[in-house]
């Protein structure tokens, strides 16, 4: 594995925009800021939640994203989560969540 070359961030530069290798967040987070970073893979794309602001539940995530939960189905790490369980399903860093809904189709 090639370790990335570390250099100090310039002013305003987003250091944590991308993971360059698995676990990179933790290395960066601890080395640079002493922060605990959280991330979720949402619909195939990694979303980073700095400063421990990972939404506590699926319902919180949808609220944060501004998505109407009444039409959404969620799959968390391959398991379908019933809509009624959104408020009681906790999220943990590194989880893979798919949010789907019906769209027009033939």
């Amino acid at each position: 594995m090639n370790l990335p070359r570390l250099r100090p961030a310039k002013g305003g530069e987003k250091v944590f925009s991308k993971r360059s290798f698995p676990g990179a967040f933790f290395v960066y987070g601890l080395d640079f800021r002493g922060l605990c970073m959280g991330f979720l893979k949402i619909n195939g794309k990694e979303e980073i939640f700095p400063d421990n602001k990972l939404p506590a539940t699926i319902a919180d995530l949808l609220r944060q994203l501004g998505v109407d939960s009444t039409t959404v189905v969620a799959e968390l790490d391959g398991q379908i989560i019933e809509r009624k369980s959104f408020p009681i399903t906790p999220l943990h860093t590194g989880q893979n969540i798919e949010l789907v809904r019906f769209v027009p189709g033939g």
Binding site: V100, G105, G106
Partner: protein, 257 residues
């Protein structure tokens, strides 16, 4: 007109409508209404988290219409099964239009993966309506594993070519003990009428209505064509012959001696 019965559920309309490609949710809702449809198909996709207003289907009254989710986008049986589970979680019902189309150019269904997925989904309690090529043997195998219908294509999806698979669909209808829903490629009301005259249980139309200049008028035309076709089928068509058979009496001509 007699009722269409799918998996024990009765329907008055024999025209199923797809909801894709409409210019607006209003145009879609009006067309569904004008078609007199009771079953409307929808697809399942990732939520666009950058566009919060992407819920076009809020215009559909779910009390009035049976939402039939399809598994479009699935390339394998496993993907179709995963989509079916998600669809069931979204609708709360277990009806699914099974589509496995690995080929993006012609969108032709994969018969082996479709049969495999159908068998598993039926065992799991799904009401499965499989989209298939017009293959009589596959149709029989699907109804043997317990699908609620078979849905042979008339021609490739969205092509508006009409009943290119007519002779195969005739065999499918002859052998079927579940409703045969002719799906895909019906471009004109006359195509739909032709399928119904042959004894199809229903037709599914999307592109021909959604992309017409006036979708709701076209929806009404399809509705009338389906009624005409079904009524003709029930009436018992007169025989075809090579030579003319006079409609007027061949006696009592004025010029006879």
């Amino acid at each position: 007109m007699d009722k269409l019965i799918i998996a024990g559920k009765q329907f008055t309309s024999r025209l199923l409508i797809g909801t894709g490609k409409f210019s607006s949710s209003k145009a879609m809702a009006q067309a569904i209404e004008a078609a007199g449809a009771e079953i409307v198909t929808v697809a399942l996709r990732r939520v666009d988290i950058t566009n919060k207003d992407d819920d076009m289907l809020s215009a559909i009254d779910r009390e009035k219409y049976l939402l039939l989710p399809n598994t479009s986008g699935a390339r394998t049986a496993d993907e179709a099964i995963r989509l079916s589970h998600l669809a069931r979680a979204a609708t709360g019902i277990n009806w699914v239009k099974l589509e496995v189309t690995p080929d993006p150019y012609y969108l032709l269904p994969d018969p082996i993966e479709t049969l495999k997925a159908a068998e598993i989904l039926v065992k799991e309690g799904f009401i499965v309506l499989p989209y298939i090529n017009a293959d009589p043997i596959l149709s029989r195998k699907l109804q043997d594993v317990g699908t609620a219908t078979v849905m042979p294509l008339a021609s490739p999806i969205g092509s508006n070519q009409g009943l290119k698979t007519r002779s195969a669909i005739e065999i499918i209808i002859e052998q079927a003990n579940v409703p045969v829903v002719v799906d895909a490629g019906l471009g004109l009301p006359s195509h739909a009428a032709e399928a119904m005259e042959m004894g199809a249980g229903a037709v599914l139309v999307n592109t021909a209505i959604a992309t017409a200049v006036e979708p709701s008028k076209m929806a009404e035309a399809f509705k009338l064509a389906v009624i005409a076709g079904r009524t003709a089928y029930l009436s018992g068509a007169a025989a075809e012959s090579k030579k003319a058979n006079a409609s007027s009496p061949l006696t009592g001509f004025l010029y006879n001696e």
